[in-house]
Amino acid sequence: MDRKPSAIETGWPEEGLTRVPYDVFDSGEIFEREQERLFRGPTWNYLGLECEIPRPGDYKLNFIGTTPIIVCRNGEGEVRAFVNRCAHRGSLLCFRNRGNEKLFTCVYHNWSFDLDGNLKGIAFRRGVNGQGGMPEDFDEEKHGLEAVRVTTRGGLVFGTFSDDTPDLEEYLGPQMTGFIDRMFNRPLRVMGHYSHRLRNNWKLVMENVRDPYHASILHLFFGSFGLSRHTMEGAALLDDSAWHHIVYTKRATDDISGSEYEDGKLKSMKSNLSLADPTLLDEWQEFDDGITNMVQTVFPTVTFQQITNCLGVRHLVPKGPDEAEMIWTLFGYEDDEDWQREIRRTQANLVGPAGLISLEDGAVTNFVQRAIRGREGHEASVVEFGGDAVESSENRVTEATVRGFWKGYRDVMGL
């Protein structure tokens, strides 16, 4: 396709973070730069949950950007991660999504690697009958797997390619770290796992999850059944770098009188609806702070959510300029009682690609991808709700959290 020069050449619009050039959502050149500067740059990328690899030798596969990654537990019980690419001629080393191995052995020519990524064996190393084989001076130590620096907190595993990435706690700041500790406070148990193929650029998804503006408007179920309205107490938080965000709501504080919700101006409010089986929304107050909905992102691509008692991780994997995959892991705690598990399970109806309050997200992000085609020049989206502030606020009537994403993006991408 004939491409106009992207924002890489033309620069970011002079308005700054209140404008986002549409190029960033479909340029192949920008996509390539993201792999190099963002995913291989100074960012912590979600790799999985420790409870998914409880024993030595357990592994699971994931991605950082487009790079395939193996996350495993070594013989000493420590979490390790490597690029899932054989050091011989580049085959995928593991091709099952999860398993347990003492050694990772490549199927192509049987090179094998230990759980710390060291090259341990080469088939026919000494040749056959004195002929062929690897040169005498071939140094195995220089041909291990490419390692990823790993850190863990509260059972979460993150990885980075860069030595410049600060410690996770510094990366997140105290408030964001505190929210992680709030939800990841004891051993987890996975309750569900699925993926969602999105036909749009990954950043449209990150804008969407960081956008409190749309939640009670697009998702009619949300507003109609009083799960979240702008009239409820809540906040939109950013850390000092603005890279990470949290939006939360306290449902018990709703008062719609005098608002656009009350006089029915908003299409999003269908107050005549009622559920035939209200146990769909059964819940218990799980956290002392009264927060009933909480969405937290860690830049660049992971989201932690609490929708009442439905807890989950959404990890976004870019697949190309106009395609992405959202990998969902729903969880509870090991010490959950049966009734709690049943409530979490029922509330899972609210989320995911079939979710009563999230199904529309996969549609609208695709609508943007389709609508930005065939543009004239360097049109940009308008992200000006709540002004141009890029800071925390005690209300959610703002796009500051979206602007924060673009701040992080521009910091790292040099755009």
Binding site: F221, A276, A348, A354, L359, E360, A363
Partner: protein, 157 residues
């Protein structure tokens, strides 16, 4: 009932069920279930690992009705159609009052622009009661072979 009879009734139920969804008569969909029922859509991988949560989980006919309410009143998505192909039904267990059956399913989804493709492939794990004359599902677990959903899963499978 002999096994030919049971097989015939189960297959007829599946045909009517598929017609109901494919023709967009969602309001009739809960009527294929008993008042106390379980309807779930879950991936094969999750099902085999014993996970509780999947894409849909309804544990009463009223919850099915609420899904229909949401489809009609609150859910927003582009017009699309499903076409179910159900076959290969195996009767796993049967008695006078109920049976368990497993069937294959493929759902082709057609979007309004004309794009069509296999949206889901998998199995129905059904428990069916014959007690009220018309057979009804006590439990229907839709196990999808893929863990991935393309864009969104609105209507039931």
């Amino acid at each position: 009932m002999d096994t030919v009879d049971i097989r015939h009734r189960v297959e007829q139920l599946q045909i009517d069920y598929a017609y109901c969804i494919d023709s967009g008569h969602f309001e009739d969909w809960p009527e294929f279930f008993t008042d106390e029922c379980v309807y779930q859509i879950i991936s094969r991988d999750s099902y085999e690992q014993g996970h509780e949560s999947g894409f849909y989980y309804c544990r009463s006919k009223n919850m099915l009705r609420d899904r229909v309410l949401a489809l009609r009143e609150t859910t927003i998505y582009e017009p699309q159609r499903y076409r179910h192909i159900i076959g290969g039904t195996r009767i796993l267990e049967s008695g006078e009052r109920r049976c368990r059956a497993e069937s294959n399913l493929i759902v082709v989804r057609t979007l309004q622009a004309g794009e069509m493709g296999i949206f889901a492939a998998g199995a129905y794990l059904d428990t069916i009661t014959f007690e009220s004359g018309t057979p009804k599902f006590i439990e229907k677990v839709v196990v999808t072979d893929s863990s991935q959903i393309d864009m969104l899963l609105a209507g039931p499978l």
